[in-house]
């Protein structure tokens, strides 16, 4: 029987990743916007850098999914 703590744990894992990603992307986005404003040719690199923190939310999602699927 799965208790209430399992979905809460999964939610925390996902939320932590999402908040971290949001914070990191906001900072990278601001700096990236500045860099693109001055040197438009850096746009490709900036988009890749902006996407890197996405891994954090994916990791959070995987951990949340593992908690939900594997904890019985």
């Amino acid at each position: 029987m799965v208790g209430w703590e399992v979905p809460i744990g999964a939610a925390i894992a996902f939320a932590g990743g999402a908040i971290g990603t949001g914070w990191a992307q906001s900072r990278i986005g601001a700096a990236g916007a500045g860099a693109i404003a001055e040197r438009p040719e850096t746009a490709g690199t900036i988009i890749i850098l902006e996407a890197i923190p996405e891994t954090l939310v994916i990791l959070g999602f995987v951990v949340a999914a593992m908690i939900l699927l594997m904890v019985e």
Partner: protein
């Protein structure tokens, strides 16, 4: 928007500053026309093209440099608008207001034409071109100060207070010193609250005060002005030199004694200046070294905390240095100075 954005823009703009090799290429140009042609392949292109339509030779370069400088700092001010950084940028830009007022006062004092004065103004501060042109229409020093007071421009108060003394001794240094003193005091007061950004700005302003005071002391000793008279031209609030130390320096008999005294301070690099320059009282050599020191310290701000106002200060000094270098090159080309001698005059950072 935060310091990340401002820092990225500053570094992007810094990457477009002229490199050492480009400066060296400019140095080897045979004349002013080829220098202007070369500048057309740099970020000064738009301003040079605009200036070429109106004037030629060194005037064209000077005009383009002024336009570029003004445009650059207006741009920085615009993208930092309503940000914490704006208040710090404004402190640095106020110096151009002070510089412009000094230029107008000097021009009016020696009755130079308005066109000539206008060509020396850099409207990079809070006072725009229209304000400065209106000031220029005034017939004399008194009228300029009255106009500033009518507009309630901050510098009017110190000028009004110093005017009676200026009227009595007819020395413009009185008004210029009052302006400097007001600018530095106001700048230090606005960053008095503890904080990383405030500390950076405070350190730089105090460093400038020290350099300004050293220059004043050297001039006073060279011109044999007594300590009591000379004291009036010093600015308080420096980092290294308080009133007592400055007063002591003013009592020293010769410039070489001042240089010896400075050996125990961060200004010990002045001891490397050739003895002949000091003995013949060529203060310009010492002033050049002090300027170099200030610029190097300023550009060094790029190495401080990136998410702070430091990158703006670093850029300010780097851009100022670039413009100074191009002006040196253009003037040396007019005077037909050899490339080797010219390179010695430049400040590489």
């Amino acid at each position: 928007m935060d310091y990340g954005y401002i820092n990225a823009r500053m570094r992007g703009m810094k990457s477009r500053l002229l490199s050492h090799s480009t400066l060296n290429d400019l140095v080897t140009r045979p004349d002013l026309d080829s220098l202007i042609t070369d500048l057309e392949n740099t970020p000064y292109r738009d301003e040079i093209i605009k200036a070429k339509g109106q004037m030629t030779g060194i005037l064209c370069i000077e005009y383009a440099l002024r336009e570029n400088f003004t445009h650059t700092f207006r741009k920085i001010q615009n993208f930092a608008k309503q940000e914490e950084a704006e208040q710090y940028i404004v402190i640095f830009l106020h110096r151009w207001d002070v510089q412009n007022i000094k230029t107008i006062l000097r021009g009016k004092n020696i009755h130079v034409t308005n066109e000539e004065i206008l060509s020396c103004l850099v409207p990079a501060g809070e006072m725009d071109q229209a304000t400065l042109q209106e000031l220029l229409k005034q017939p004399d020093v008194r009228a300029v100060i009255d106009m500033l007071a009518t507009w309630r421009i901050r510098y009017a108060k110190c000028l009004t207070e110093a005017f009676p003394e200026f009227f009595r001794i007819k020395d413009l240094a009185v008004l210029e010193c009052a302006l400097d003193r007001y600018y530095y005091t106001d700048a230090i007061d606005s960053v008095r609250v503890p904080g990383y950004n405030n500390q950076i700005i405070r350190d730089f302003i105090q460093l400038e005060i020290d350099v300004t005071n050293i220059k004043t002391v050297l001039r006073m000793i060279r011109d044999h002005v007594g300590p009591d008279d000379a004291r009036r031209y010093l600015v308080g609030g420096g980092k290294e030199f308080d009133e007592r130390k400055l007063n002591h320096m003013l009592t020293l008999p010769a410039i070489e004694d001042v240089v010896k005294y400075l050996a125990a301070t961060p200004y010990r690099f002045l001891a490397d200046i050739p003895e002949s320059a000091i003995r013949t009282q060529r203060i310009s050599v010492i002033e050049k070294q002090l300027e170099r020191f200030l610029i190097k310290k300023g550009v060094g701000a790029f190495l401080l905390e990136p998410l702070s106002v430091a990158s703006v200060i670093g850029y300010f000094w780097a851009k100022y240095n670039e413009i100074t270098n191009i002006r040196i090159i253009s003037r040396c080309k007019t005077a037909d100075v050899s490339p080797d001698l010219l390179k010695e005059e430049l400040i590489y950072v």
